[in-house]
């Protein structure tokens, strides 16, 4: 198990934890699929997949930006000129998030999380001191809200959640469900008729969690060469179950790193 990396160590490291997370996420995407990416890490992970192993991945952003790849570095937003510079089509939010995502047409979406729980529910709305209570009260810390992630969580065939692995982010139960995972587990999604299948993986800075097919509780499926089961369990806010077949995620190949760094031209993932 590696110690947390500092910037002075970066030069000696072959790759950062952020890069490992982006590559592991990108590996979840398959050639020919229709995929939607959010901003930041999820966008880099998605375009990495397209650049590396899924050349016919059909991708878009929430704004209906099609056929584009980032130029000049990580785009500042899903409508940033760095991604608008080489699109083949610009449409709109209803098209991307409605016609293609909420409809169930999109195969896979990548979303981020401030907080995630054992059923894959995501909180990006706020942090409360203690329980949120029965109705609504002011958050101690206001976050970004749901954005398009709720729409992706409801509609996409499957969802990959990317999140930094820290105890405060991995809660037994999120205080506010911004984007539904499996709610209270089992077949709970069926109550709402969601066309999407729910999260298929939580890819973190330390490993990969996957849902139990029946209970839908997330368990540890794999860890990285630089992490360990113990470290991951310690960084998880619930009693994380571990797969009997828990495995080590293959390290990034030279080709993967080259493809990722071509997308991440300004090295956003190397600076963290």
């Amino acid at each position: 198990m590696n110690a947390p990396q500092t910037s002075t160590q970066l030069e000696q490291q072959p790759y950062t934890r952020q890069e490992m997370m982006a590559i592991a996420t990108g590996r979840e995407l398959h050639d020919g699929e229709l995929a939607i990416f959010g901003v930041g890490l999820s966008m880099l992970a998605g375009y990495f997949a397209q650049a590396h192993h899924a050349p016919r991945l059909r991708s878009m952003t929430e704004g209906g930006v099609y056929g584009a790849t980032p130029v000049g570095g990580l785009p500042w937003g899903i409508e940033c000129n760095r991604i608008s510079a080489n699109a083949t089509s610009f449409t709109n939010a209803i098209d991307a998030l409605g016609f293609l995502v909420a409809s169930g047409r999109c195969d896979v979406g990548i979303i981020g999380a401030a907080q995630v729980d054992k059923f894959g529910n995501v909180n990006t709305t706020g942090i409360w001191d203690g329980d949120i209570g029965d109705s609504y009260r002011l958050p101690k810390t206001r976050l970004t809200g749901a954005g398009g992630a709720n729409d992706i969580a409801c509609g996409a065939g499957r969802v990959v959640i990317m999140v930094t692995h820290e105890p405060k982010r991995f809660a037994d139960k999120v205080s506010y469900i911004s984007s539904p995972g499996y709610l209270d587990g089992g077949a709970a999604r069926e109550r709402y008729g969601f066309v999407g299948g729910g999260p298929s993986a939580i890819v973190t800075t330390l490993g990969i969690l996957r849902p139990d097919p029946v209970t839908k509780e997330f368990f540890l499926d794999a860890y990285y060469a630089f992490s360990s089961v113990e470290e991951i369990r310690a960084a998880t806010g619930w009693d994380l179950k571990v797969s009997p077949n828990v495995r080590v995620v293959p390290e990034p190949t030279q080709e993967e790193l080259a493809a990722l760094r071509q997308v991440d031209a300004t090295g956003a993932l190397r600076k963290r």
């Binding site: 939010a93 749901a146 954005g147 709720n150 729409d151």
Partner: protein
């Protein structure tokens, strides 16, 4: 024939807004096309108690909320994408000054669609089942909040889904790339929900980075997603989305995005920002000076410039726009 509708930014705010108005902008995204300059003028004219309908937060809402002018806000996303949390909005929400009602991005777009169609409600297959459905900042003591996303029964299957309330904002200030003096507009880059917003709003003010001759619209009528018949006024204002980006015209101003957001994290910083970048900057020249002429040139050197190329031949010079503006003013006075 439609009539010429060019007016100044100050006149647009005077004529179409008032304290307590339900004001929509931000049918754009946090880094992209939003009429940020309209928010600056709202503050110059001291508008307050706004009910802000922003599909996404932008630096405009961040500034308005940070300056204490927003009582209610409805948003799909309240951050600044890669630039992080929106400190002005965040501070206003955490202090209780701004009641922020949460929806998803699709929900906001569909609520505008429903407003445009004048539907009593919009079917909701998203937002249901999450805390968005029934937790309401506008009705904090009610759970489930029946006025937010109640259920409706599909008459074909008997299945229960949700129902969104439609939006019909009193006025929308919509950023567009190109407008003609009649109010026909071309948007470059994602429309986000500007098409729907232009129909949902009761009054529509376009804020255009450039004014073109109507011949441009006749050459590219399929690009004219906002036709003059639904537009009340046209404001010419270069760099209207600054520090955000406008495809074809200018990139996002990374340094200002960050410094502005940093300023908005405190009351003092916000006061400083207003003094340095809002107050007294009451014409286009002063505005471009404030951005910095070197910065204007740098931001204009965008990889998206080619998107504007087909339309440049019809772009009117500032002097030509000023002459047209004088005509409208005379007409209005007459």
């Amino acid at each position: 024939m439609s009539q010429q509708k060019l007016i100044t930014l100050a006149e647009a705010v005077r004529r179409y807004t008032h304290d307590g108005i339900q004001y929509a902008s931000g049918a754009a995204l946090p880094v992209g096309s939003d009429a940020v300059v309209f928010g600056r003028e709202l503050l110059r004219q001291g508008r307050k108690n706004l009910h802000a309908i922003f599909h996404c937060n932008t630096q405009q809402l961040n500034l308005l909320a940070g300056a204490g002018a927003v009582t209610k806000a409805e948003c799909g996303f309240s951050g600044l994408e890669v630039f992080g949390f929106a400190n002005g909005l965040r501070r206003a929400v955490e202090s209780g000054q701004t009641a922020l009602e949460d929806y998803s991005n699709l929900a906001m777009a569909l609520r505008l669609l429903g407003g445009a169609l004048n539907w009593p409600f919009v079917p909701a297959t998203v937002n249901i089942g999450s805390d968005i459905q029934h937790r309401s900042a506008f009705a904090p003591d009610d759970y489930p909040a029946k006025s937010k996303i109640p259920t409706v029964t599909d008459p074909f299957s008997g299945r229960e889904i949700g129902a969104f309330s439609p939006l019909r904002p009193e006025v929308a200030a919509i950023h567009v790339s190109l407008a003609d003096p009649l109010g026909n507009a071309i948007l470059l880059g994602t429309e986000w929900s500007r098409f729907e917003l232009a129909r949902a709003a009761q009054k529509v003010v376009l804020i255009a980075d450039a004014i073109v001759d109507t011949d441009c619209m006749r050459q590219y009528p399929n690009l004219v997603r906002i036709p003059d018949v639904i537009v009340d006024a046209v404001v010419y204002h270069p760099f209207a989305a600054w520090p955000q980006s406008s495809p074809g015209f200018y990139d996002a101003d990374e340094a200002h995005m960050k410094s502005m957001n940093k300023s908005l994290s405190s009351v003092e910083g916000t006061a400083d920002y207003l003094r340095e970048h809002v107050t007294g900057i009451d014409d286009i020249d002063a505005y471009l000076d404030n951005i910095g002429r070197d910065k204007v040139a740098e931001l204009s050197d965008t990889a998206t410039a080619f998107l504007l190329a087909p339309f440049r031949q019809w772009i009117k010079t500032p002097a030509e726009v000023a002459a047209l503006l004088a005509e409208t003013t005379e007409e209005t006075a007459a």
